[in-house]
């Protein structure tokens, strides 16, 4: 047992550290470090910078043009990006659909779709949830009917994150109503510019439009956009879930935000308030414990000796921690977290914020926004079902 990264891993970290700090535009990291509003251009701009370096598909194997990094290297890359204040990589293309295309797509589909994902040129969205299918995803109803060399798609997806920017969308659609619900689902790639696609942003409780409803009205999708076999889509979706692994704990971002919480507490005169400070200390312990759990999973992947089945725990704990730091940041600002001035969350805003510190403007917004973390990606209650299964059978 050894807590230290190997000299090779450390050298890798140093390389990534230097490169990210040299290439991440300071106006973008300023926004991330202060929870200011990111534009589509901010997100895609960083994606293109990474794409040029060949690091946007940082989890990709070499045969598909990826860097072929180990699990530990991927973790270190994510950590260096998070700590530097890089926007989170929008995962739907490079992290989610790409591995499915690599594993189950045809060579033609791989040639057609992977380059645009790797370069960050094409914005992908995810079409999973539906109004009637959340935790019970397999009950989804969006219908795709084969007509000659195309599918006709009708139905509705929802909670489509950043779908307002989406150009392509990977969807779970129902191609059969025979047998178990899981066996009638297919994995279909869809051009969002197709006639019959309507995207309607959903305003969330923080006032932002981070998710969307997507409606399909007789949308024609060429049959060549089907991944793998018809009615096998559920298997591909499960493969994709297995691909998420340790990233879901988001421990690196929580480390960065813990630092920010400490800065806010200092500025608000709470650093020497023991009641508040102890709450930060407790969160710090939670984050160290989560990090140790993440490192255990990574080490197990690295050695291949003792596989750990604790991914559900990582999601539960990681999301709870994200909510906690946001809560403490908001509480630190006292009533100055309460003024709702949307423009104050834009970089460079010059208006007067009540009390004079516009840095407090996004705190409540972030708190409200992060309530999503225990709901998305399989709600924490669903995760507990999964964990209980491993303990109780």
């Amino acid at each position: 047992m050894d807590l230290a990264f190997t000299p090779e891993e450390q050298a890798f970290r140093d390389e990534v550290h230097g490169w990210v700090r040299a290439h991440l535009p300071p106006e973008i990291s300023h926004k991330v470090h202060n929870a200011l509003r990111l534009t589509r251009d901010d997100m895609q701009g960083w994606a293109r910078i990474l794409g040029k370096k060949g690091w946007l598909g940082y989890g990709w194997p070499r045969e598909f043009g990826g860097p072929g990094w180990s699990a530990v290297q991927k973790h270190l890359f994510e950590e260096e990006c998070a700590l530097a204040g890089a926007p989170r990589i929008v995962p739907f293309g490079p992290v989610m659909v790409a591995p499915v295309i690599m594993a189950f797509g045809s060579p033609e589909q791989q040639r057609r779709f992977l380059p645009g994902i790797a370069s960050g040129e094409v914005w992908w969205s995810q079409g999973y949830s539906e109004p009637g299918s959340g935790s019970d995803l397999a009950s989804l109803k969006t219908r795709a009917v084969r007509q000659g060399d195309k599918y006709i798609v009708n139905g509705q997806k929802t909670w489509t994150t950043l779908g307002q920017y989406g150009e392509w969308m990977f969807n779970l659609v129902r191609t059969s109503t025979e047998g178990k619900p899981q066996t009638g689902i297919s994995f279909l790639l869809l051009d969002m510019k197709s006639p019959g696609v309507t995207v309607r942003p959903i305003r969330l409780l923080d006032g932002e439009c981070e998710v969307n409803e997507v409606f399909f009205d007789n949308v024609e999708v060429p049959a060549e956009n089907l991944i793998g076999e018809e009615n096998k889509g559920w298997n591909y979706a499960k493969f994709l879930l297995a691909h998420e692994r340790t990233g879901i704990a988001d421990v690196n971002r929580s480390k960065r935000e813990l630092e920010r919480l400490k800065r806010i507490a200092k500025r608000e005169g709470l650093w020497d308030d023991l009641r508040f400070r102890d709450q930060i200390a407790l969160l710090e312990v939670d984050i160290v414990a989560l990090e140790m759990m993440v490192l255990r999973v990574l080490a197990a992947q690295k050695s291949g000796r003792n596989p750990l089945d604790i991914a559900g725990l990582l999601k539960i704990r990681g999301s709870e921690i994200q909510q906690r730091y946001a809560e403490l940041m908001m509480l630190a600002a006292a009533p100055f977290a309460l003024p709702l001035i949307h423009e104050a969350m834009d970089a460079g805003w010059q208006g007067d914020f009540p009390g004079g510190d516009a840095g407090l403007a996004p705190l409540a917004s972030t708190y409200f926004n992060l309530r999503k973390t225990t709901i998305y990606g399989g709600s924490n209650e669903v995760q507990r079902n999964i964990v209980a299964q491993t303990v109780l059978g």
Binding site: M1, D2, L3, A4, F5, T6, E9, V72, K255, R256, L258, E259, K262, K266, W271, L274, R277, D278, I280, A281, L282, E284, V285, I287, V288, A289, L290, E291, M292, M293, L295, R296, L298, A299, A300, K302, S303, R305, N306, I310, G312, L313, I316, R317, E381, Q383, R384, N385, V387, A388, T390, V391, L392, G393
Partner: protein, 371 residues
């Protein structure tokens, strides 16, 4: 970064686990508790397994193994809630090997390694709570060595030990001494503890003592940190077994015509127990791996670990009793003994609030949370 155990460590684990399963069943433990909470024969069996020699340097007849090996042994002893205090042996070994003069090491470490001598730390005083720097015991120079006057409380296996490590004031600072059983002016009075183990009051009146180190506070901090790491590992074993017992019970107990393991309220509680167990295991690794770090870093890390373990132990222990229903609060069921052990462990080497205070006061303004 590597969290695998070596082949030797796996063999050590197997050997200790086999001994616990075969030789330290609930009936024997019950008899040991009834007999006062400490069995020298059982301690001898630990020595026979090589555990008392595990961390003693090879030069002094030990096996020269490290903190992770000690952790593995403690986890397995925890699984069987073994009462004989091997943690005290790791503490005495670590403190003597790191802080004592060669002659003191040569006199005691080989006997500790063989199991011939049980040496325990006697630091608790009535007014100290969990603070190490509160000490009213007094040491004075004598013709040969020193003379100690002290009243120490809750000394683990205190009336069974062959020597005590005793902190006392000397010239305005705390120094650490060794006092031998049979010395003049030594009185002990033993009693049982909530977990079934044994402790004693130790009263010294001008008792002859050997100096271990002038820098007693640093030695006490080291002792405490070794104790925390050992307790964390032991607690992981206790909790691992507690989760197992509880899962078995939920699968076997039927109400309303079905196993109660089918009820989601109970399944989610079980998931939360598993969460606390794995967080605790992660921080137990952290504790043992940080034991060799520089003192400041070590102190901070070990307090973090104890904060996590304290919370985990309380949750797992309390929920295990709850999920067992009535049987969980009976003495005849082994689960209640696991719960009492966990409760006592939280209050050993500083409870959760105490160590939260330590973490809080040592907290860096930057993130500073990197493993």
């Amino acid at each position: 970064m590597d969290f695998d155990f070596s082949d030797d460590q796996e063999q050590l684990r197997d050997a200790v686990r086999r001994w616990v399963d075969k030789a330290y069943g609930f009936e024997r433990r019950r008899a040991i508790v009834a007999g006062g909470g400490f069995d020298r024969a059982a301690y001898g069996e630990l020595a026979g397994l090589g555990l008392t020699a595990l961390t003693v340097p090879e030069a002094h007849g030990g096996l020269g193994q490290g903190a992770v090996d000690a952790m593995v042994a403690m986890e397995e002893l925890g699984r069987g809630i073994v009462l004989e205090p091997l943690a005290q042996t790791f503490i005495a070994t670590g403190v003597l090997a790191r802080c004592a003069a060669d002659a003191v090491q040569a006199a005691w470490l080989p006997r500790i390694a063989s199991g011939a001598a049980l040496v325990v730390l006697a630091q608790q005083e009535r007014k100290a709570r969990y603070r190490l720097d509160v000490c009213e015991s007094k040491a004075a120079s004598a013709q040969v060595g020193y003379a100690l006057t002290a009243h120490k409380n809750i000394v683990i296996a205190g009336d069974q030990a062959d020597a005590w490590l005793v902190p006392a004031q000397l010239g305005g600072a705390i120094a650490l001494f060794l006092v031998e059983k049979g010395a003049s002016g030594v009185k002990t009075q033993g009693y049982g503890l909530q977990d079934g183990g044994r402790a004693a009051e130790l009263q010294l009146t001008d008792a002859p003592a050997t100096l271990v180190t002038q820098d007693g506070l640093a030695a006490l901090e080291l002792a405490q940190d070794i104790g925390i790491a050992a307790s964390c590992a032991y607690a992981v074993g206790v909790m691992d077994q507690t989760v197992r017992l509880t899962a078995d019970y939920l699968n076997q107990r039927r109400q309303f015509g079905v196993p109660i393991a089918s009820f989601q309220a109970l399944r989610h509680r079980m998931a939360d127990m598993k969460m606390q167990l794995e967080l605790a295991r992660s921080m137990s690794y952290y504790a043992s791996l940080k034991l060799g770090a520089p003192a400041q870093e070590r102190r901070q890390a070990l307090s973090r670990a104890k904060v996590q373990l304290g919370q985990s132990m309380r949750f797992v222990g309390q929920q295990s009793v709850q999920l067992h229903g009535g049987i969980g609060v009976t003495d005849e069921y082994i689960g209640s003994h696991y719960f009492k052990t966990l409760t006592q462990l939280e209050m050993t080497w500083g409870d959760t609030l105490h160590h939260l205070g330590e973490v809080s006061s040592r907290m860096q303004e930057t993130a500073g949370v990197f493993a």
